[in-house]
């Protein structure tokens, strides 16, 4: 609508709105109190509520991981029973996938940042946005009920027939995942609509921040894949409850059909987790190189290409499940194809760095960690996609190391980059840069010490999910466990200095990084309506060769009756003379 008209070379009267470094009114001072937070439809507050929930789940999932690693210090029993161990790795996986990785970047950071990057006041459907948060909470409650009953020991993949026979509380968790799926679907639907319909004047598709492109691709996957997971877990619930005979071979069903259904969601789901991370990397790398992103369209469209190809590769999880040889070959080939758009991204990011004014602040450090770890994760993924190699490596620690390099080394490191990048915007506070750098060293070293040995022992035949192991793997497992403790220390340091900055941190200016991004042209923390004017965009989000004032434009007050209520307030602010810009 608005954009269609703007693209017809419409002339708008604009003026400069320089964001104040000392905002008197922010979304944090507006609507205070627990009840106001719980019933808010403000995308920023909902984003913060998601962020806190994700952090809590990450702490739980991380603690479970440390327990697992501690148990693996010795080849036989160290301190927990085998059944407990099965439950711990299942919960670690389920919590990290469904409650941390899937909502982490889109629902937490994306919710907060994306409408601001579009110059919108909110997402298209604010009430649905709040509903999605409570649906997420409801899904979590179901999962905790399962914990309080008999736990879950099927692995996060719920493979039949074991999941129909297991004595643990499978139905509670599958219903939890079913409910949780709606949260993801609502977020995706909301984001697609917001990106299409809520862009400020001048933001054409070619001027969308790459973070928005990445969230767009992610939302498409969420909308297309999640309903299939919903129906899958519903059928699984029915199978277990009534004996439907669709997945259980004893009743005439087919367990491989379950795997097809499950991975039709869960493989695209890994792109739900990683693609938003790509968006953050693009934003941070441009801001801290002070340079236009190299290959804007290549990066933007490769996100969509990954989303598309990601739907065609699910069969590579079933190379050893009795899938036909033809299907297996095709899936293997398609799996290699995913490497192309991903490689395009990596090369464009590297090219962006070239001759940039690189500033090694904490977000940028995490970008470099990301590039290193994610490349390892990606290349080992190609090896696993190769048929004969996969037969050898299937269900070993090599697979475990691979997806931790992608999911943790990719998504979580990108999340840390984004969190450190946008923390001043979200809270209005600066964190301790020195401690942040120390923590990043712990994270990087700890991560590699944990997971590099797993590649080696996996290649030597150590199977995943085993409680005991043969003596030859002891040194690898012990190294890995020590690494996991280092990682734990790193995250505790991060928790410490972020909390410290909340209460005692220095005040952040509106734009501490000198970014050209639209979200940085609002105050830190932003106003309740993000901007107190209607932003107008005339340059791309990474045009660092253009002067900063041309990124701070908004509709001149008297041309837009919509803003008449706040006209007085706006006139009082610092402003240049009005200018006329042709948008097109």
């Amino acid at each position: 609508m608005a954009t269609a008209e703007v693209s017809n070379k419409k002339t708008l009267k604009v003026q400069r709105f320089k964001p104040s470094d000392n905002p008197s009114n922010t979304y944090l001072t507006d609507e205070k109190g627990v009840w106001a937070w719980m019933t808010t439809v403000d995308h920023k507050k909902i984003g913060i509520m998601y962020l806190v929930s994700v952090a809590i789940f990450f702490a739980v999932g991380g603690a479970l991981a440390l327990l697992l690693r501690t148990e693996l210090l010795t080849p036989a029993k160290t301190f927990i029973e085998a059944d407990t161990y099965n439950q711990l790795f299942t919960l670690h996986g389920a919590i990290m996938v469904f409650f941390v990785l899937v909502p982490s970047i889109p629902a937490a950071l994306g919710n907060f940042i994306m409408p601001m990057q579009l110059g919108a006041k909110d997402v298209a459907f604010p009430k649905l946005n709040l509903a999605s948060f409570y649906i997420y909470v409801a899904g979590a409650i179901f999962t905790f009920i399962a914990l309080a009953q008999h736990g879950l020991d099927t692995g996060w993949t719920f493979y039949t027939p074991y999941s129909t026979e297991s004595s643990s509380s499978v139905i509670w968790v599958t219903m939890g995942v079913f409910i949780l799926g709606f949260s993801s679907i609502l977020t995706g639907t909301n984001f697609i609509t917001t990106i299409h319909k809520m862009r400020a004047p001048g933001i054409t598709w070619g001027k969308l921040p790459l973070n928005v492109w990445a969230l767009y691709a992610t939302s498409i996957i969420q909308v297309l894949a999640t309903p299939v997971l919903a129906i899958t877990v519903l059928l699984l619930t029915m199978e277990r409850w009534l004996g439907f005979g669709i997945f259980d071979p004893a009743l005439g069903g087919d367990p491989v059909l379950f795997q097809h259904f499950f991975w039709f969601y869960s493989h695209p789901a890994v792109y739900i987790m990683i693609v938003p991370g790509f968006g953050i990397i693009s934003e941070v790398i441009s801001t801290f190189s002070k340079k236009t992103v190299f290959g804007y369209w290549a990066i933007a469209l490769s996100s969509l290409a990954i989303a598309f190809i990601g739907f065609l590769v699910w069969g590579h999880h079933m190379f050893t499940s009795g899938q036909s040889a033809v299907a297996t070959t095709v899936f293997s080939f398609l799996t290699f194809l995913v490497g192309i758009p991903t490689g395009i991204k990596i090369f464009n990011w590297i090219a962006t760095l070239y001759k940039g004014s690189i500033k090694m602040d904490t977000p940028m450090i995490y970008v470099f960690i990301f590039l290193f770890l994610f490349s390892i994760g990606g290349f080992t993924g190609i090896m696993l996609g190769a048929l004969s190699v996969d037969i050898h490596l299937h269900d070993t620690y090599y697979v475990v190391a691979h997806f931790h390099y992608v999911m943790m080394g990719g998504t979580l490191i990108a999340l840390l980059a984004g969190l450190h990048f946008w923390w001043p915007k979200m809270t209005g506070k600066l964190y301790n840069e020195k401690l942040a750098k120390i923590a990043s060293v712990f994270i990087f070293v700890g991560f590699n010490v944990t997971f590099l040995p797993q590649f080696v022992m996996g290649a030597q035949g150590m199977p995943r999910r085993y409680y005991n192991y043969v003596d030859q793997f002891t040194a690898f497992h012990q190294t890995s466990t020590i690494g996991s403790y280092l990682l734990g220390v790193g995250f505790l340091i991060i928790l410490y200095y972020l909390m410290h900055s909340l209460f005692k941190g220095a005040k952040s200016p509106a734009n501490p990084w000198g970014s050209r991004g639209l979200e940085w042209q609002a105050t830190s923390p932003p106003d309740f309506h993000n901007f107190d004017h209607t932003p107008v965009v005339i340059h791309g989000p990474y045009d660092y060769h253009q002067p900063m004032e041309e990124f701070q434009l908004g509709l001149a007050v008297d041309t837009n009756g919509h803003d008449s209520g706040t006209a007085k307030e706006v006139v009082d602010k610092e402003r240049d003379q009005w200018k006329n810009y042709s948008l097109g």
Partner: protein, 217 residues
């Protein structure tokens, strides 16, 4: 775009620039939701295809247990309700609030007729022992060891569809109450159109379910 200098209409939410943007956003969101629904049912259709390809005999034998006449009646009922919901939208667009209310009431009534017929179909099957799932299934009239699989698929497909009908009835009651309060007219009829879209979707899904389950030979 509408004139900015006018006062905001009551229906315009604060975060939209104007009514057109609000309507476009709602419509797009609804279409994305419909895509969602199609993928959701798509999983079931996929299960149907797989099992029908594996056990064609099972499907032709078991389908004879379904009552084609009542299925056909229900198809007509739903197609009729799609017509009346479209007429409801048209009435709202033309400011005919009375027509909107009447058409909504007829649609609700037709939806209830559909559920009633479905209730009799279900209760007849449950009565003779055709229950969903192998554990409860006791009917012996079908000479196939996997007869329960067909009816599992039948119950889950038609059951989820029936849940959508119930949700649709709730939505239309909500729209009816708002129409009574005179909230809709040619200026603002977004919720009416969105519920109409949803209702057409529910209808289209049934149009696929009916031949796939009832009319196979």
């Amino acid at each position: 775009m509408s004139n900015h200098s006018q006062a905001h209409p009551a229906h315009l939410q604060h975060h939209f620039v104007d009514s057109d943007q609000q309507f476009d956003a709602a419509k797009m969101g609804m279409w994305v939701f419909i895509v969602n629904e199609i993928l959701f049912f798509g999983g079931l259709f996929c299960a149907y295809i797989v099992f029908r390809a594996w056990y064609p005999d099972l499907f032709t034998q078991a389908a004879t247990e379904l009552n084609t006449v009542w299925g056909a009646v229900n198809t007509l009922v739903l197609i009729g309700s799609s017509l009346t919901v479209a007429m409801a939208i048209r009435s709202a667009q033309k400011n005919q609030i009375k027509g909107l209310q009447i058409n909504l009431l007829i649609t609700i009534a037709l939806a209830c007729v559909f559920l009633l017929i479905k209730y009799f179909e279900y209760s007849h099957k449950l009565h003779i022992g055709i229950w969903p799932g192998a554990e409860l299934y006791t009917y012996e009239g079908i000479d196939h060891p996997l007869a329960h699989v067909f009816f599992s698929i039948y119950y889950v497909m038609t059951g989820i569809h029936a849940i959508h009908i119930i949700v649709g009835i709730g939505l239309m009651i909500w729209i009816y109450i708002r129409a009574k309060k005179n909230e809709f007219g040619s200026e603002y009829y977004t919720p009416v159109e969105m519920v109409g879209l949803y209702w057409h979707l529910v209808d289209v899904i049934w149009i696929f379910l009916f031949p796939l389950l009832y009319l196979i030979e």
